[in-house]
Symmetry: C2
Subunit: 368 residues, 2 copies
């Protein structure tokens, strides 16, 4: 049996006890009429979380990076130009996947820890009138930065591009309005602010995006992630057609997590994340710690904190884990060794978690 | 809450209660040292189930069809010739995925309900000396047919090809010896004879297969299914490198299912499937039902039974489901409406299940 931890890293977050119970419900056949009704209900809950009426809203049966790949392989054809904003690990990953699609990605790089600058994106889109899409990360999990998804999606539309948005860490933690903001394709994860286990990737596609998918000259290079087959399986079309076997128990968990979110209310969940972030920020500053990101761009659910001069960052994390059972995250790429990433996501976003983290960090900093 | 069913279709099978409990364990971080040790242990259990020492043995974080795609996208490069045996739905699917890889698949078709004929495969391989791989289905879930994976894998090797084997339904239900039979790439599923929920695909690759992967001129078209990245994440290499976020709780379930298999013993599990199949066969024949498949090619874990003349097959399944809470499967493709598929897989392969099924079928046939 593995040790019990408190999860305050970049995800997974603590899973709600009700979600754990839901995972353990008896399995049912994925073609059972009762399960088909359940799938419809799940997708309706997902639409509520994304604030969308998109018919093509469903959970991909694989983690967030498969959701990313799903968006790109369906919306890109070989030779297409796509503008990709890169301000952390996940923009870099989109670039890599777009290349594997045979597309011609234009990378627009921003310093890690800063947001995507709409003015620069505007110029780049103007310089690439052939671009079919703009892709960017709403909530960069590697740096704790929020970019302005509304402005960027509007820009994409103004330039005749589809917008492809990574909100793996954003969904249910900060404001996100898929329809109002005109987002064309979005993917998320279950192990962040939804507090279900990792393993599924909720996605949603606008009618504009689906029209592009239907107009492809060639089928997408992935059969498993083929959106027309997926929407057929999930019943967005007229007749449900067998594709893969849905991960039944994982979907039980996601359904329960969405039900909890729905009961709290989406705006209330956003407010809770903001409130606990403010508490954590005050406490971290009282410990003498500094944030990587300027205040107006910080993600409340992912706090990137600079490692103080002379502190052994790995040792601090080891003390937190071994002495307090508390997980926080390390830095990635150019930020490895330079920051910690403290998550306040979903079930891990409570006053209790803030207090536990501050106390444990105080202890670890004193003894590391 | 969904109704409780007894699952005797083509999968998912009934999930072991211990596996359901394992799914509900508290989530832990996928980079936690304790979880990394758990991943190593899980893969060692998987090697035991596959009877292999392959270092590259791990569960893909997505269902069986993603395991299929993983094998093909990593082992095929554009323009490669691959010989694919097609005797049911899953051979057809391999053909479709191979095409999307830009490969040049040579389909060798067999009547649905019959096995892959090694002599024909031998001739086709002789006629295509440029073929890089032979792909076939060990246990065809759509028809209940077992093909001779040992002979076919040996043939592939004799012709200088890699063998790619679908054993989604085979693993833990019938004899399967990855190393002894010289299988180069194999994928399976968790929701069949392992009796964990659907959602993961155990795969294993020989050194020969990994050498081919490392020698590719271009990266595989899928980033999510890139084997070098996956084996890096799962620690088959020297240093563990972050790739995606593993589906932690689903892996708890798979680990427990493998532990149960290990405790029973692999050969004992094969024998149990054979024993209960014989019981079910006798009972079905006593009800006047006939098998689709000749005795020597039948899968004990998936019994394809002809729908008797004049019987409304959908009505029979509805009576089984509504009156007895029992799920069996319908036919697919050319066999739709013509057969039922009765699973005896893993936790659903007991004397009790056989008795329940025979009694319920007797009732349903009498009243449908």
């Amino acid at each position: 049996m593995l040790p019990k931890r408190t999860l305050m890293g970049p995800g997974p977050s603590d899973v709600y006890p009700e979600v754990l119970e839901a995972l353990a419900r008896p399995c049912i056949g994925h073609l059972d009429p009762a399960f088909i009704a359940f799938m419809d209900e799940l997708n309706e809950l997902l639409r509520g979380a994304f604030l969308t009426r998109n018919a093509a809203t469903l959970p991909i049966s694989a983690p967030g990076s498969a959701g990313m790949e799903c968006c790109l392989v369906n919306l890109l054809e070989p030779g297409n130009t796509i503008v990709i904003a890169v301000n952390g690990v996940f923009g870099t990953r989109m670039l890599e996947i777009a290349r594997r699609c045979g597309a011609d990605p234009v990378a627009v790089e921003f310093e890690w820890g800063t947001p995507v600058d709409p003015d620069r994106i505007d110029s780049v889109l103007a310089a690439h009138p052939d671009a079919v899409a703009l892709a960017f990360v709403h909530a960069e999990t590697s740096t704790g930065v929020r970019s302005d998804a509304e402005t960027l999606s509007n820009l994409a539309r103004r330039h005749g591009c589809l917008s492809i948005v990574d909100s793996v860490t954003g969904l249910a933690g900060i404001e996100l309005r898929v329809d109002d903001w005109g987002i064309d394709a979005i993917y998320s994860g279950t192990q962040k602010c939804l507090s279900a286990p990792p393993g599924l990737s909720p996605v949603s596609f606008s009618e504009r995006a689906m029209a592009r998918v239907r107009a492809r000259a060639t089928p997408p290079q992935s059969w498993f992630l083929d959106l027309e087959l997926l929407t057929g399986y999930w019943g967005a079309g007229a007749k449900r057609a067998y594709h893969h076997t849905a991960p039944v128990n994982a979907l039980f968990g996601l359904h329960e997590a969405l039900r909890i979110l729905h009961a709290e209310g989406l705006e209330q969940a956003w407010a809770r994340h903001a409130r606990n972030h403010a508490r954590l920020r005050d406490g971290l500053e009282a410990l003498g710690l500094e944030f990587l990101v300027a205040p107006q761009y910080r993600l409340p659910q992912l706090n990137a904190v600079r490692v103080p001069q002379g502190v052994d960052e790995a040792r601090v994390r080891a003390v937190l884990l071994d002495r307090h059972g508390l997980e926080i995250g390390a830095g990635l790429g150019p930020l490895a060794g330079r920051i910690w990433r403290i998550g306040l996501m979903g079930a891990s976003c409570t006053e209790h978690h803030v207090a536990l983290c501050l106390e444990a960090l105080g202890d670890a900093l004193g003894s590391a």
